[in-house]
């Protein structure tokens, strides 16, 4: 019984990792620009497909796959921010609309070029480790450890460095930050690059969990938003807590035989939560911690 619990806990962590990466990327971009970037999930799809192109055979080549997907998606993010999102900062709802168009372009473009069916990526490490009775596939361990490293690094960066402080200042009040001499537009570009980097790595992780297909990211992004919303949009810690919560609830529901109603229950619960507590869950948690 105890082992079973631990096994479930391990599974929760690996699916929470992916949710956390989506939610963090969305959250950071929203916090800085106010833009709901619905194309963010498709950035992850692109990352997964870059891994497929660079390292379809898996194994050690995966390192290059990760590096390539992080680089490609980050550069793409910078280009898109400079070319498109830059012009919507004054009216973030237009940024959301632009991202709708982008999502349409990426999803259909990927489906056109790679086909609408999923492609297979061989595992990075097909070993299964057993620790204290818990069977852990090496790939899932890579995902969990990679996500933890990324999250800790990001929190340290935002909390401890001067650039991180500047980014938080912009999130708090863009005009005031600009008046204090913070290079707002440059940092917004930087945060889009950071978001792209996270999406690229996240896409690589997702490719380890399941075969990539064109709508992979589109299906993740709505859950990512829900997680970010529950955690309080703009907060990295909140996004992590929300992701673990979501993965935990999903595991419980699947165990209870409600797999089909998963989305209805999750999204329904978030709607109710927001009707009862429009300010989100984050503040409540912050007070109790």
């Amino acid at each position: 019984m105890n082992e079973q619990l631990l096994q479930q806990g391990f599974n929760v962590l690996s699916s929470a990792s992916v949710y956390a990466l989506v939610a963090i990327g969305l959250s950071v971009i929203f916090g800085l620009s106010g833009i709901i970037n619905i194309a963010y999930g498709d950035f992850m799809t692109l990352g997964a497909y870059v891994v497929f192109v660079v390292a379809p055979g898996g194994a050690i080549a995966f390192i290059w796959g990760f590096a390539a997907s992080a680089l490609v998606v980050a550069v793409l993010s910078i280009v898109l921010e400079r070319a498109l999102f830059r012009w919507t900062l004054i009216r973030p709802v237009n940024g959301f609309l632009v991202s709708l168009g982008l999502a349409q372009i990426i999803e259909n473009g990927v489906a056109w070029h790679f086909g609408q069916d999923s492609v297979t990526v061989a595992p990075a490490n097909s070993a299964n480790w057993t620790l204290g009775g818990v069977i852990m596939s090496a790939d899932r361990v890579i995902i969990i450890l990679g996500t933890i490293a990324l999250v800790v690094g990001l929190i340290l960066f935002l909390d401890r460095t001067q650039t991180g402080t500047a980014i938080r200042a912009i999130a708090a009040d863009r005009e005031a930050a600009a008046l204090m001499g913070i290079p707002v537009t440059r940092l917004v570009t930087g945060v889009f690059a950071l978001g792209g980097l996270i999406a690229g790595l996240g896409g690589g992780f997702v490719a380890l969990l399941q075969p990539p297909y064109p709508l992979l990211g589109a299906e993740l992004v709505l859950k990512g938003f829900v997680v970010a919303l529950v955690g309080g949009l703009g907060s990295v810690r909140g996004a992590v807590i929300g992701a673990v919560l979501l993965a935990f609830i999903e595991t419980v529901l699947v165990t209870a035989g409600l797999a089909g109603w998963l989305d209805v229950i999750e999204f329904g619960a978030v709607i109710l939560l927001l009707i009862i507590r429009p300010q989100g869950l984050a503040r409540g948690l912050a007070h109790s911690m």
Partner: protein
């Protein structure tokens, strides 16, 4: 942390041509007369003459198109355009007058379609009661969206409506007893309307065209009614609107119920046209494509959503592109429109025509001036304040007597 409010207004720049046009002495006089006759003129709306002219033009073009012997598949595309426009025009009202970007109307559309499929295949209902039932069902679910819009605004509202559309989709796919799950329902029986059978696409073409005309007329009435005025007042400043006694809940409930009912009716026609309903037609993707239709055409214009639907539906078959590439191309066009012509395709056309015809006065018939100017926005709120004052005065007079 940012509160996520829609920062409206800062980028709403009225084309210079519009204000130039309004500056002539004659239109000033008409405007004054109108204010004297029936309170203030609604902001950003065309006169009834222009509305009627546009609807007549639409009817003539649609009838000539159908009678000109185009291939049968174009008629089918035409029905799809009208179905999209019935729904998208409602979304346009919510967005332009209410500042509410709804990404849940694809789900309401699905509720209408499923209502038709279930009521016809299981209970053999006639068309009119089916339409009423679908409008009622989608309208009630739509009305419940007001419980969200009164609590959260801007980005939060958009995300939660995505959640709503996912819930509706999830119910459709899991409620096997009613919806037959992912397999969907086949609706092959022709509709019967007052004893006549409606089965051919040409018949549906005219039924949906007439419905669209009625919907556009109704929307124009709403925009000019107190409801439209209150909706705009809430959009411009919620606290100010509330302080003069406007009930945000009531106004939003009415707006969502009406546009939801339109989505339901549109869904009924869709079910009959496709002869097959399945949950994947009504996912968040559907809602997104309606938003694209509305903003591509221009939400500020009566015929904007219709024109957006024409572009989205006819472009792929005119260019002979594969559906995937056509959708990607629409994404490109959409981004270009959002960034370069925020007034949409109709806005662009009207603006260029106005520029050409500024002196002839014909431009006046093409539609409303560009979205609200600061002055007209203020007018809506002022009008609401004035009415509240009148109400208070009347109350005081009553109390004195």
């Amino acid at each position: 942390m940012p509160t996520g409010n829609l920062r409206r207004g800062s980028a709403d720049v009225a084309p210079a041509a519009a204000s130039r046009d309004a500056g002539t002495g004659r239109s000033l006089l008409t405007g004054l007369n109108r204010i004297r006759r029936r309170g203030s003129a609604p902001s950003g709306e065309s006169s009834w003459g222009a509305t009627i002219a546009q609807l007549v033009a639409l009817t003539v073009i649609a009838v000539v198109f159908a009678a000109s012997g185009v291939p049968a598949e174009y008629i089918t595309l035409g029905v799809t355009v009208f179905i999209y426009a019935i729904l998208a025009s409602g979304i346009g009202l919510l967005y332009h007058d209410g500042g509410l970007l709804s990404v849940a109307h694809g789900g309401l559309w699905g509720i209408g379609a499923y209502a038709a499929a279930v009521l016809v295949t299981k209970y053999n209902w006639q068309l009119v009661p089916v339409i009423l039932a679908a409008a009622l069902a989608a309208g009630i679910v739509g009305m419940s969206l007001a419980s969200i819009s009164t609590r959260v605004a801007g980005s939060y509202f958009i995300i939660i409506l995505f959640a709503v559309s996912e819930v509706i989709y999830g119910v459709m796919i899991n409620w096997n007893a009613v919806t037959n799950g992912a397999e969907g329902i086949v609706l092959a029986t022709p509709a019967s309307l007052f004893g006549y059978q409606i089965s051919s696409n040409m018949q549906w073409y005219y039924v949906s065209l007439i419905t669209l005309l009625l919907v556009l007329l109704l929307l124009q009435v709403i925009k000019r009614s107190q409801l439209g005025q209150h909706l705009r007042a809430i959009r411009d400043s919620r606290p100010l609107a509330m302080s003069v006694g406007i009930s945000v809940a009531r106004v939003h409930m009415a707006s969502f119920a009406i546009t939801g009912a339109m989505a339901g009716i549109s869904g009924v026609y869709w079910a009959y046209l496709e002869k097959y309903v399945v949950p994947s037609q009504f996912s968040a993707t559907a809602s997104i494509s309606f938003v694209v239709v509305v903003l591509l055409g221009g939400s500020a214009y009566l015929l904007g959503p219709l024109l957006g639907a024409v572009v989205v539906i006819f472009l792929p078959s005119l260019l002979h592109l594969s559906p995937l590439l056509a959708d990607a191309l629409i994404g490109v066009i959409f981004i270009a429109v959002i960034l370069l012509f925020p007034e949409g395709v109709v806005g662009l056309v009207t603006w260029s025509l106005r520029l050409l015809m500024a002196r002839t006065g014909i431009g006046r018939w093409l539609g409303p001036p560009a979205s609200k100017t600061p002055a007209s926005a203020a007018r809506d709120t002022q009008e609401a304040i004035r009415r509240a004052d009148e109400g208070r005065q009347a109350e005081e007079e009553l109390r004195e007597t």
